[in-house]
């Protein structure tokens, strides 16, 4: 499989008036096409910083981020999905999902047709002209995902997109999002601190240490099941959970000790 993303000894420093904070310390990993990779780590360790670097919103202090063979990040190849759905309340669902297209120049007809098709496929077509406030939390995140997919990104960045939802909705939406991402054949990077969510969705998990973050472990997963919910039933699930749990708690102990 082709490599789509590579972090090569990436360091990142945040500048403040009195201090220079090292957020990332020599991070290296890679992501292949159509792979689902999760990044877990103690809170505040710099997970979101990694996504911002991939999205080109930040530049590495040293080292290289190589996206699709180039160290110049082309934001068109990236789709970013946030913790909150970030839907624009004054726009209809349709106007929300075509927001990204409005920002682009050139012919949009083909992409508009694609947007319509996605709405139909993921059963949101009836809500096309509704305002976001009449949608449930899970539906809103699905709209947010479609808004991202319409731009046909090569790589999806998911920044804890489920954490603002209640547990039931969360499990269902995990299944939905997983299915959508797999059927659209997308590569995705998920940042989360929910270990079981990471295990149930990913092909690979990258465990980060606390700040300054370095890669503590890279775990390849092979669980049976076609959906995240089914994967939770796999016998090796709890083993993985314990392993990652221990790695993260050790991390917190050493941080406190």
């Amino acid at each position: 499989m082709n490599e789509i993303l590579k972090f090569d000894n990436v360091k990142y420093f945040y500048q403040t008036k009195d201090d220079e904070i090292c957020a990332l310390d020599n991070i290296s990993f890679n992501v292949n096409e159509e792979e689902f990779v999760s990044i877990v780590g103690p809170s505040g360790c710099g997970k979101t910083t990694i996504l911002s670097l991939i999205a080109g919103l930040l530049k590495p202090s040293s080292g290289e981020v190589i996206l699709d063979g180039s160290n110049k990040i082309d934001t068109k190849k990236i789709g970013y999905m946030f913790q909150r759905d970030m839907l624009f309340e004054w726009r209809s669902v349709w106007k929300n999902i075509t927001l990204g297209l409005e920002l682009q120049k050139g012919n949009r007809d083909e992409k508009l047709a694609f947007a319509e098709e996605l709405l139909k496929k993921y059963s949101l077509y009836n809500f096309k002209n509704k305002k976001p406030r009449s949608l449930s939390g899970g539906m809103r995140q699905r709209v947010a995902l479609i808004r991202t997919l319409v731009l046909e990104p090569k790589l999806l960045l998911l920044d804890e997109p489920f954490s603002a939802l209640d547990f039931q909705t969360r499990l269902n939406l995990c299944d939905d999002v997983y299915e959508i991402i797999k059927s659209e054949k997308k590569t995705a990077i998920l940042v989360t601190h929910d270990i079981s969510e990471a295990i149930s969705m990913s092909d690979k998990i990258i465990v980060l240490s606390s700040r300054p973050a370095h890669v503590k472990d890279e775990i390849k997963l092979d669980l049976k099941g076609t959906t995240p919910l089914k994967k939770r039933e796999d016998s090796s699930f709890s083993g993985y959970f314990e392993k990652i749990w221990r790695e993260l708690t050790n991390e917190e102990k050493s941080e406190n000790g």
Binding site: F82, R84, F88, L99, G100, L103, L151
Partner: protein
Amino acid sequence: MKKKAKTVNFSLSHKKYVKKLRQDKFIVIFFRIFVLVAFLGLWELLTYTKVLDPFFVSSPSRIIAQLGDMIASGTLFHHTWVTLYETLIGFLIATVLGYLIAVLLWWNEKVRRIFEPYIVVLNSLPKIALGPVIILWVGSGTNAIVLMCVLICIVITTMTMLSAFINCDEGKILLLKSMNANKFQILWKLVLPSSMKDFISVLKINVGMSFVGSIMGEYLTSKAGLGYLIVYGGQIFKIDLVMSATFVLCILAFAMYSLVSLLERVYKK
């Protein structure tokens, strides 16, 4: 969207609840009107029985007679139009200009930081203090009055809009940035539409403020207008005239406020 009347038979408690809602609404409207009628009635009664001297406090009947005279002679329309014209021009200039300045200050953070203290000072300065200077600069009459009106409204417009722009959801800005939006697109697609609510409240504030401006301007320098009538009436001890002009002002301000409310309702749809 109007909800269709449902023909479902609700429980008795629901019927009671709806009845109570209706009753409450009726009580509020009834007493609203009652307060007005009682106030006018008492006023009329006290002046009619000479408990209060109508020379100093006027009376509803005298105000009606005064308004009747002025309508017959056509002066009421003239004075009302002059004030309305000044107020509307001042209102429009201040709102548009104040809005544009807010956009400019949002656009460039350095410029914003440079001008911040000046805006704060301008905001707390009583604009009436500039009266004599204004007359010297733009002459007496309409120009001075409109300028006074603009000065009073513009600073608050800029300050309110700027803070609305700055408080725009950072996450949504990040989303647009991740979609490769430029600064103009962030302004146009996000910052301006998301601040529409604040813009409507600015309009509401400015309705009141622009009347303050035009009446104050007319106090300073004028040959016509409701403010002129009030000052003139006060000078010749004709309180009927003062009260009549004030009454018309109330109606104008209420009408303008209603227009803005209408705009708000249209926008919310």
